[in-house]
Symmetry: C2
Subunit: 112 residues, 2 copies
């Protein structure tokens, strides 16, 4: 997880709509949902949904697969896990006692 990817992921999560989309996809993991299902559940115009899904896909926050004429979207849980790890590492730098388990090995880099 480098800074550039982290920034892109935070951008992806920094919108109420996109956060709703992601949470809905997590809730429906590992099946995912097709675009139309998301649009109707969130009551969004399809072009607007498509705009947000494109951004999320480009950030690798979600994964898309074609199914006939449908596009099925799934939450990318592993990249989310990496983001949590990144955030934990950042949060813990120099302050391990404030973070998760004290016995967890944390060896962080210098952040420049």
């Amino acid at each position: 997880m480098d800074k550039q990817l982290a920034t892109k992921l935070f951008e992806s999560l920094a919108s109420g709509i996109r956060l709703d989309i992601f949470r809905m996809l997590v809730k429906h993991a590992p099946t995912g949902l097709v675009a139309g299902e998301i649009a109707s559940k969130l009551d969004l115009p399809p072009t607007n949904l498509s705009f947000h899904l494109k951004a999320m896909t480009h950030a690798s926050l979600v994964i898309v697969a074609q199914e006939g004429r449908y596009q099925r979207y799934r939450a990318n849980l592993s990249v989310m896990q990496s983001l949590i790890d990144y955030l934990t590492a950042e949060c813990c730098t120099g302050n391990p006692e404030l973070c998760f388990d004290a016995d967890k090995a944390i060896t962080c880099c210098d952040t420049n």
Copy 2:
């Protein structure tokens, strides 16, 4: 941690500059840094830094305290911990097997 706060925090982290500021403050926890130190370390015009610090403060990502004519900024590690918990809970919904292993080693960041 409600959705609104989470969104605000993600917004705060969704900029290279603000992420740099936050990581620098984490690195200097619990002492923190005064605004001028941050500005010179990141080579930012003071007005621009002030803009970002204000946003981060408003999102409760950082905490500010006056010290004479200086403003000392500190990372709000507890809200960051709450955000990590929120993200973990969201990520894990229905998929606990994909999330934290108790004995997982944390692999740390690349610079940038």
